[in-house]
């Protein structure tokens, strides 16, 4: 190598050759020193960060108000720094969290009593007035909360520890609603913060949850750090989903946003991060071959994929056409294309998700049995479909919603539909789906999205199961029978009665094709084996977790 260099440079520049060699040695030495320094500092950092969990979540945190938005990452942030009055365990049963309760004999007065030792992160005690203000703000934003406030006579603090919620009429699902995990749980904030109008984001982030938000280290969309709140008094019961004792065993949790899944996997393998909330299924083999990493599913419910039609315009203003479209679709085709690995999806025709108390697959026969193209063709012919193009919106930048439109478009074409699939980014889609213009003039006929199962597991919280026309979710079905059935569900007193009404809602909603459930998929997570005692939960929580040295 040296001789070659000498030969290349000849006689004249020999001096410069020696000079360059010296320079090269200096540069190499400098780089080595830098690398060693870096190595040393990494070692020091590793020692200092022994009880810090570095987690890569599914999305960057950019909004800090868990009431103003339904985004999951903001809900997850909410569970870190706030607490809730009532929380659900793995059987979906409401359990006391910040408060116990009693219900009057006529079931119109709920009295909540805050437990001892509750403090906000600034040291001030949590009072009933804080809870009342927080519930009122939440009730203006959350659709389930709005239903409760429709029948609320008064909600007030009797004293520092007692909240009295008086209803005009019994509302049996009240506890289920205020204990729900998603999309917007009623997090308890200081009354001064909860006084912020519900359509404006809060600017003060003090909660009473097990972790404190470290504002100085927050970079929107990049990283957020939480410190253990030493003043938090966990319940005595063992942690069970969102209920039970939230015992924190680490000093800090840092959420880092990594836009590239391969980078996250590399960082997990090299020990730079401890936890990856969502691992793309096609990259799982890389992690499964590592002895230092465990791949698992902590959320056994996962997500339901759905297709939603626009009820206002042809062809989907015709129920027969909607039925023909549903008949053409096969959950197996959709899930097989979207997920691939059958370990991570299940065929499920229930609008309330599978694995939930209201699971019911009535009316989903063709969907869960491979579709029925011939039946769809026949029904489409009977419907009088005139070839009106179906404007199908296809988001190209969200991997979990990119396969459904392609599979659906082909199935619809096979059944005889004319499909106009229009690719666009998700942002354009969410803007366009709010448009009630004709499909040919900037509107739409069909789009797809996914819901976390706890967001659709009841007719009271599922955004799609609303038949109030223009006040309903995008697609705007006007469905009086659905509204009647929802009222019937609200009035149901026992779980058996609720299940019976849910069965009727399932049958009706599938009959009118309120939306098309396209299967349920799970999201595998990966963790360093240094992390132990991670509990199963539909929300990624960081209490209970221990980190080995």
């Amino acid at each position: 190598m040296l001789s070659e260099t000498d030969r290349i440079q000849g006689d004249a520049p020999r001096a410069s050759s020696r000079h360059w060699n010296r320079t090269a040695r200096h540069v190499a030495a400098g780089l080595m020193a830098g690398v060693m320094l870096a190595g040393a500092s990494m070692g020091t950092a590793a020692q200092a960060a022994e009880k810090t969990i570095t987690a890569v979540m599914h999305s960057g945190l950019r909004v800090l108000d868990p009431i103003i938005t339904t985004a999951h990452i903001v809900r997850d942030h909410g569970y870190m720094i706030y607490d809730v009055l009532v929380a659900q365990d793995h059987t979906f049963t409401p359990k006391p969290q910040m408060a116990d309760w009693t219900i009057s004999d006529d079931k119109t007065v709920y009295t909540f009593t805050l437990r001892d030792g509750l403090k906000f992160h600034d040291g001030s005690p949590v009072t009933a007035a804080d809870a009342v203000a927080s519930l009122k703000r939440w009730g203006q934003r959350d659709s389930g909360g709005q239903l409760i406030f429709d029948v609320t006579d008064s909600l007030a603090a009797r004293d520092d520890k007692t909240i009295v919620w008086t209803l005009k009429e019994p509302y049996p699902p009240l506890l289920d609603t205020i204990s729900k995990q998603s999309a917007v749980p009623p997090f308890i904030m200081p009354a001064s913060v909860a006084a912020t109008p519900p359509d404006q984001a809060i600017t003060n982030h003090i909660g009473s949850g097990p972790f404190k938000f470290v504002e100085s280290e927050y970079q929107p969309g990049v990283s957020v750090t939480y410190e253990k709140f030493d003043g938090y008094v966990p319940r005595d019961e063992p942690a069970d989903w969102m209920a039970g004792g939230k015992v924190v065993n680490v000093d800090k949790v840092t959420w880092v946003t990594m836009p590239d899944a391969q980078t996250t996997i590399n960082a997990l393998l090299s020990g730079e991060v401890d936890y990856m909330e969502q691992v793309p299924v096609d990259l799982l083999p890389i992690l499964q071959s590592s002895e230092d990493v465990t791949v698992e599913v902590r959320d056994p419910l996962g997500f339901q994929s759905i297709g939603r039609m626009n009820f206002l315009y042809p062809p989907f203003d015709n129920v027969k056409v909607r039925k023909a479209a549903m008949m053409a679709l096969s959950q197996q085709d959709v899930m097989g294309t979207l997920v691939g690995n059958p370990d991570y999806y299940k065929i499920c025709g229930s609008m309330f998700g599978c694995g939930t108390p209201l699971e019911d697959e009535t009316g989903a026969d063709t969907l869960i049995n491979g579709g029925d193209i011939d039946g769809a063709k026949k029904l489409l012919a009977e419907s009088g479909y005139d070839g009106t193009p179906v404007v199908l919106m296809q988001p190209t930048d969200v991997p979990t919603i990119s396969a459904q439109p392609i599979v659906a478009a082909q199935a619809l074409r096979n059944a005889g539909f004319t499909v106009d699939m229009q690719p666009m980014d998700w942002q354009t889609l969410v803007t366009r789906r709010a448009s009630q213009a004709k499909p040919s003039e900037g509107g739409w006929n069909l789009f797809f999205t996914n819901w976390a199962v706890p967001e659709i597991n009841s007719p009271l919280i599922s955004p799609m199961l609303n038949g109030r026309g223009n006040d309903a979710w995008f697609g705007w079905p006007t469905d009086e029978k659905l509204e009647e059935l929802r009222k019937e569900f609200i009035a149901a007193q026992t779980s058996e009665e609720r299940k019976a009404v849910a069965h009727k809602i399932q049958a009706h909603a599938m009959d009118v094709v309120n939306y098309i459930p396209l299967g349920q998929f799970l999201s595998p997570q990966a963790r360093s084996n240094k992390l132990t005692d991670m509990i199963q939960s539909p929300v990624p929580v960081f209490w209970q977790i221990k980190k080995a040295d």
């Binding site: 290349i8 440079q9 004249a12 520049p13 001096a15 410069s16 360059w20 540069v27 830098g34 690398v35 320094l37 870096a38 040393a40 500092s41 990494m42 950092a45 950019r62 909004v63 800090l64 103003i68 938005t69 339904t70 985004a71 903001v74 934003r141 659709s143 999309a183 109008p197 359509d199 404006q200 984001a201 600017t203 970079q219 929107p220 990049v222 880092v256 990594m258 836009p259 590239d260 391969q262 980078t263 590399n266 960082a267 393998l269 090299s270 730079e272 930048d397 666009m424 942002q427 354009t428 969410v430 803007t431 366009r432 709010a434 819901w451 967001e455 955004p463 006040d471 979710w473 995008f474």
Partner: protein, 313 residues
């Protein structure tokens, strides 16, 4: 010279104004709704409408524009619609990783590329020249993410010498900064080394054929002096142009590299802001980038006269 600088700085004003108007209108004409991102998937049309009103998005466009310009006149880039954070603060957090990576990349690129280009020109049409040119073609051709992943696989996963990702400010821990910046800078430098080496070679080849070079050699001037003092300084103008433009491009955001190495720079901020239709952030970044381009171009122009005294302003 001072008059020239003054005129160039004054010329920034209409440029920025045109950029401001253009960017503002372009964003408003692009489909998208920041309120939908803010509210999430389950928001009803009525809730979206209330949030739009609260964010001022229902105001007529000219009102939104005058409000924004008024804020700019007071040195305020506005507040992010999504994170509710001042835009200046967001850019301030994200610009330093980008600048530091850009500086290190340019230093690395110049340190490698200029000698490579000089040697290639000096040994024109020998295998050294062909090797340098082959490397240049390779540097241009291989996508940066491939180079990034290969470097990560080798240095981080297999050898475990360097971290996979992340960024530490040099002020916090210089060693850590260096260890985290080496791989992204090497990745980025590949293309710039190729670019600068080619430009250096081409410029030098042109100059090496000049009479004064032949004269210098005839007078017995050492080859090293001929190459670096006589030839390179006269070939510097196009090389400087390419270095300056390269630096401006690096500041403008290198999204792929920032994603592969998880560097919280301006490139990712820009992409995130565009995807979320966070108008004030996009507008702030583009204005900043326009100003940076104008400023760097001014510096390049001024540096010409340093290397070539015949150039006067």
């Amino acid at each position: 010279m001072i008059g020239y600088i003054f005129r160039r700085i004054l010329a920034v004003v209409p440029v920025m104004l045109i950029v401001a108007v253009f960017v503002f209108l372009l964003l408003r004409l692009t489909p998208g709704d920041p309120a939908a991102i803010l509210a999430g998937d389950a928001a009803t049309p009525a809730q979206l409408e209330r949030i739009r009103t609260s964010l001022g998005l229902n105001e007529p466009i000219y009102v939104q524009f005058t409000t924004w310009v008024d804020q700019l006149m007071h040195g305020n880039l506005g507040i992010s619609l999504i994170s509710n954070t001042p835009v200046a603060q967001m850019i301030g957090q994200r610009i330093w990783p980008t600048i530091n990576i850009a500086i290190l990349t340019i230093i690395l690129s110049v340190a490698i590329a200029v000698p490579m280009g000089v040697v290639a020109a000096w040994r024109h049409r020998t295998w050294v020249d062909y090797a340098v040119m082959s490397f240049s073609v390779l540097g241009f051709s291989v996508p940066v993410f491939v180079i990034g992943y290969v470097l990560i696989k080798f240095f981080s996963i297999d050898l475990r010498w360097l971290p996979v990702q992340g960024y530490t400010p040099p002020s916090q821990d210089f060693g850590k900064f260096l260890s985290r910046a080496i791989l992204p800078c090497l990745t980025l430098a590949t293309i710039y080394v190729a670019l600068i080496a080619r430009m250096t070679r081409a410029s030098l080849l042109e100059v090496l054929g000049e009479d004064y070079i032949r004269t210098a050699r005839a007078k017995g001037v050492k080859e090293r002096v001929v190459l670096f003092r006589h030839a390179l300084s006269n070939a510097a103008v196009p090389i400087l142009t390419i270095i300056g433009t390269g630096f401006a491009l690096l500041i403008g955001g290198v999204v792929v590299t920032e994603s592969v190495f998880n560097i919280p720079g301006v490139g990712r901020l820009t992409v995130d802001a565009i995807l979320a239709r966070d108008y004030p952030v996009i507008q702030g970044i583009i204005l900043l980038m326009s100003g940076t381009y104008v400023f760097i171009n001014l510096l390049i122009d001024l540096s010409y006269s340093f290397f070539d005294p015949r150039i006067r302003y």
